[in-house]
């Protein structure tokens, strides 16, 4: 998370309660753990959804899913790194993994 993100979240948390936080550019599980640490005690009720938007995130999907509360599979970003057939297979695989882990995933 950048300073700008922290500033935005701090301002928002004074207005509304955030139920879900979508985190883009997640490359591995430590990225999600880092976000959780940054949110601290006050943010422990916020569910973190990792955005799977590049190839490395797909390759390390299980590790990312383990640390997060759910995932968002971003087809329009992944289309630049995966062919249509592979994208379809990756999507099906990711949904199966998320279902097995009983975590939500959106496409």
């Amino acid at each position: 998370m950048t300073q700008s993100d922290l500033s935005d979240l701090s301002a928002i948390s004074q207005t509304c309660f955030i139920d879900f936080l979508a985190v883009p550019f997640v490359s591995h599980g430590d990225d999600v753990t880092g976000v959780r640490k940054t949110l601290g005690e006050n943010g422990n009720k916020i569910h973190i959804l990792a955005k799977v938007d590049h190839l490395e995130a797909v390759q390390r999907f299980n590790e990312i899913l383990e640390e997060s509360d759910g995932a968002i599979f971003v087809r329009n970003e992944l289309q630049w790194e995966l062919s249509a057939e592979k994208l379809m297979l990756a999507q099906k695989w990711a949904v199966a993994q998320a279902n097995a882990a009983a975590k939500p995933i959106t496409i």
């Binding site: 700008s4 500033s7 879900f20 883009p24």
Partner: protein
């Protein structure tokens, strides 16, 4: 669920939007609506340009430079001024870079 992407708009505009969401929820106490906020993350933005309509025309095969530290100056077709100073650590020759959601594809030389 209501989804608010903080990549779009300023902090002030986003807060105004969230206040409207709060008002809407208050008017409908019988309805549940969760809030999802999407942070910007490590975005890379290009500075403004002085072209008509804000559109830069880039010819296929042309060469352009990526420059950081001059975000207050306008970009043009030969020079993209970006707001990220770390990107050079990650780019290597022959890497493929995408601009504007993939509309422009460039190869790092």
């Amino acid at each position: 669920m209501a989804r608010v992407n903080l990549s779009h708009g300023t902090q002030k505009e986003n807060l105004r939007l969230l206040n409207k969401f709060k008002q809407a929820k208050r008017l409908r106490p019988y309805m549940n609506c969760a809030l999802m906020v999407e942070i910007r993350g490590r975005e890379i933005r290009m500075s403004h340009n002085n072209e008509k309509g804000g559109l830069l025309r880039i010819r296929s095969g042309s060469t352009c430079k990526l420059v950081s530290g001059q975000f207050d100056q306008p970009s043009d077709a030969s020079c993209f001024r970006i707001n990220n100073e770390d990107i050079y650590r990650f780019l290597k020759p022959n890497d493929v870079a995408y601009f504007d959601d993939g509309k422009v594809v460039a190869i790092v030389s």
